[in-house]
Amino acid sequence: MNDWLNFSSNAFIAAFFLYCAAFIGYAIAVAGKRWSNRDPEGHAKRWGRIGFTLAALGWLAHLAFFFTRWKGGGHIPTSNMYEFMTFLGMAIMFAFIIVYLIYRKVLLGAFAVPLVIIIIAYASVFPSEVQPLIPALNSIWLKIHVTTAALGEAFFAVGFAAALVHLIRVVDYSRTDKAGRRAQFWTEFMLVVIVVVIGFLVSVFGFRAAGYEAQFRQETFRVDLQGQGETIVQTVEYGLPPIVAPYNSEKLSMDPFLGLKEPLFEAPSWMNGVNAGRKLNTIIWSLISGLILYGIMRLIARKPLAAVIHPHLDGIDPDDLDEISYRAIAIGFPVFTLGALIFAMIWAQIAWSRFWGWDPKEVWALITWLFYSAYLHLRLSRGWQGTRSAWLAVVGFIIVLFTLIGVNLVIAGLHSYAGV
């Protein structure tokens, strides 16, 4: 590894810890307003400024990571999942800074910064070494298409963060009617999902730090286009203790974990995709650790997490949050259209000889675009501002994430090189 790349990975670690520190600053700004002997306004302002400064420093470190890796690796670091997700984190930070400079709402940072932390932690799950470009990616459009698409999505992410604050802000715990309970349930559900994602990160990095390993030999039967059946034998490596073994596999080696010496069961036969068994195992672990984490938090708080956060949000008006969320999406929409559709079409025309080929990634970019188009049109109608609009912003970002990650993990297609 050359010096540029060494510096780059140090800068990445620095960025990560600066973001964490920024989050703590923001959390104190939001949560500490009612601490005794304090002027709430002054406190929020002061800690908000500290949080923003740390976040901005983190972003500078992140930029340093990006450009030194570009220099050291010889190509723009947006060519695989690790590089793309770290870039997305950087873009979200940029979008957040823009939106923050317009609206100056401290609260937004308290939600956008942890989102960035989760995104770049997720990036680190993937192998981080520099991989030389394959011919399909060797184009100036790798720089143009990927960066603009990610920037558009970053604004959607900020729209999502604002929408989430909005939802927690307006959820009303005094209501006991059906609609009120439904709002309480789904708001809490969103937080549970986020905790499960954190649970995923905790289990992956926990077992990775402990050096956990297990190996299976899997036989897969496939029918090729000529109708010939063939059996493929491959080794599947697990980084998490196998609760589920791959379908039709035998154990080669397995470190024991808490008395777990054998997989508890085997993946069902219809899960025959690439590494399907391992993915299922990872999902199970994420759910287990996420739910344990959530349980602990509930035990400490003794009330729903949204109810814990809710009282701290009264300093901001729901209408402002609605406006911020909508504005972020409105800023992101043209950028997304340009990057994820138009530039994508230009590149596809050059590299694959057709501007559109209904490849899953293309289709999901179109779905994302259609969804946000529907969002923007719905806002024209009465009754689709505020809470309903916030839910749409949340769903929209879930679609964005599926387009970015889910398609690669579940569907693959032509963009599969961007996978693990």
Partner: protein, 561 residues
């Protein structure tokens, strides 16, 4: 339903008008009396709100509804998502029996998927129908709104009804402490500094309208025009003459006509490179990671004898390009893309010697090209006549020589040798230029059987001396040939669309109205996006005229809560 459309200000409005065209007083009002007004399209009447609709009106009304448009978008979105569950049939190069394939690969669900036609989602009538409906909706929605909006914005009245002002999203009311006329002048100056166009009521100077960035209102419609152009261009790709999508496979050194065109393409050389281990990170060492696929190609055009079956066409090179994955050859709308390659040794030509086994003397060499070989050859005193060619040699059921295909996979040549000391009819020999043990055996067996039949005396053999006498192709490169005459329109549509989006989203149409009745100032402001921005602007302008107010306090929605 009879609707009285005459406003209290005396203006006669068309049916369907929501806000009086002149003073802005609400005519149709189903909202609570103190809530902000519905300001869409400035409350102008639209065609779709016509009374007693006939059939055309009903169709128009259906497609002019934003609600219908959103439904169309959502259904298209769900349909598109369904199409990604399993690979589409179009993603396979050749799929002989799709039904069987989906059943074998994806089981029962795959069978259902194929049965429902979801394996061809994007070519299906319902999906294309949805796109056409979205296109229709784009046109009608836009026309239904842009015309009334344009009219409403081009004949705005400066003095508005108090109801109109008080029910804007941004509202301010106060009693002026200074001379009203002077204050209005000052306020107008402040707004002009912020690039507003300002109109003051000519009668008494006690009402004002300031407006900026009206053009941003046209953004959505320009975007829709772009999308229409785009969709029409996509449909135009169905015109056969506008579209070509063919594949040409070329061995190195091979030249082929591009079907249905006067063009010929030659593969001069194909290169595939892989990264070496020291270029790869630890985890990828030892794997084949491609670095470059390149076909050195020359494009020729035929200038004469193009369709003459007897003569060879006259070719003139027009373009040379190293075709790589991200760098197609492009010539007058014709594009050649690197599509695929295959490692397949194929002889281009050999220069064998004719060997007389009786005295071990060799004659020649003579040049034998694998494609279009000449009919006669000279080797020393001997003449070789080509009597048969099997480009892809094989034996049929009765063990008779045949060719398996027209591709020169394993060519065999049958020569009749005539010359001094040979019978008048000559001697017949078969020759396999491709060096392999199996070919050697076949060649010997066949020549032996010719000898038994009396066709030869076993005197001659063929021999190639060294690799310098063999020219061969290592790779077959497949190029994708494309003509897409609709592409410029696609890009124009996309560009128009982008311009519209930028206009609509990065600028906002802002208007400020005020009137002074005695000393009572009533101000209302409206923007189609970013109410936060307009509040800040109004508060700043008021501040400079000596009225200090917090931007937040101007928010009408908040005041009512």
């Amino acid at each position: 339903m009879f609707q009285n459309t005459k406003c209290e200000c005396g203006h006669q409005n068309p049916t369907g008008t929501v806000l009086c065209e002149a003073c802005g007083n609400p005519l149709v009002d189903d909202l609570p009396p103190d809530s902000p007004l519905e300001m869409r399209y400035d409350g102008a009447a639209r065609r779709s709100q016509k009374q007693n609709p006939d059939l055309i009106d009903r169709v128009w009304n259906f497609f002019s509804s934003v609600k219908v448009a959103v439904w169309l978008i959502v259904i298209t979105l769900i349909g598109a998502a369904l199409g990604t569950i399993y690979p589409q049939e179009s993603s396979f190069v050749n799929l002989d029996d799709p039904a069987q394939y989906y059943k074998d690969t994806y089981g029962t669900w795959g069978m259902i998927y194929h049965f429902l036609g979801l394996s061809r989602t994007y070519e299906s009538w319902w999906f294309i129908g949805l796109l056409v409906m979205i296109g229709t909706s784009l046109v009608i929605c836009s026309l239904d709104r842009v015309l009334p909006l344009y009219k409403a914005l081009s004949k705005q009245q400066v003095r508005k009804h108090l109801n109109f002002l008080r029910r804007q999203q941004t509202v301010y009311e106060t009693t002026l402490q200074t001379e009203p006329a002077e204050w209005v002048e000052k306020f107008a100056r402040e707004l002009k500094r912020k690039r507003y166009r300002v109109w003051i009521d000519r009668k008494d100077g006690m009402a004002l309208l300031a407006e900026k960035n009206r053009f941003s209102r046209w953004g959505p419609y320009i975007n829709h025009i772009g999308l229409i152009v785009f969709l029409l261009a996509v449909l135009a790709r169905a015109v056969p003459a506008w579209h070509m999508d063919k594949y040409v496979s070329l061995d190195e050194g091979q030249i082929k006509q591009i079907p249905d065109t006067p063009y010929y393409v030659k593969n001069e050389k194909f290169t595939v490179e892989f990264y070496s281990d020291d270029e790869l990170p630890e985890r990828l060492k030892g794997t084949l990671r491609p670095k470059l696929y390149e076909t050195k190609a020359t494009l020729y055009t035929c200038t004469a004898d193009c369709d003459d079956p007897v003569k060879d066409p006259v070719l003139v090179p027009v373009k040379q390009h190293n075709i790589q994955v991200n760098s197609p050859l492009s010539y007058k709308g014709l594009k050649l893309y690197q599509y695929n390659y295959e490692e397949r040794i194929r002889l281009i030509s050999v220069k064998p010697m004719l060997v007389d086994k009786t005295n071990n003397r060799s004659y020649g060499p003579f040049e034998l090209p694998m494609t279009d070989p000449p009919l006669t050859y000279k080797a020393g005193p001997y003449t070789l006549k080509l009597s048969d060619v099997y480009p892809d040699f094989g034996l049929d059921e009765q063990n008779r020589p045949m060719t398996k295909s027209r591709d020169p996979n394993n060519p065999a040549f049958v020569f009749v040798v005539t010359g001094p000391g040979l019978a008048a009819g000559g001697e017949m020999y078969i020759y396999f230029p491709m060096p392999s043990a199996e070919n050697k055996k076949l060649q010997d067996q066949l020549n032996e059987s010719f000898r038994k039949l009396g066709s030869n005396s076993g005197r001659f053999a063929f021999e190639v001396n060294g690799m310098e006498n063999v020219s061969f192709s290592q790779y077959t490169s497949t190029l994708n040939v494309r003509v897409d005459r609709a592409m410029p329109y696609i890009w124009v549509g996309a560009a128009i669309s982008m311009i519209g989006l930028v206009m609509g989203f990065y600028w906002q149409h802002r208007r400020i109205w005020l009137r002074i009745d005695g000393r009572a100032l009533t101000l209302g402001a409206h923007t189609n996006k970013n109410t936060y921005g307009i509040r800040a602007e109004v508060a700043a302008a008021l501040g400079r005229t000596g009225i200090a107010v917090e931007p937040k306090a101007l928010d009408n929605r908040r005041n009512k809560r």
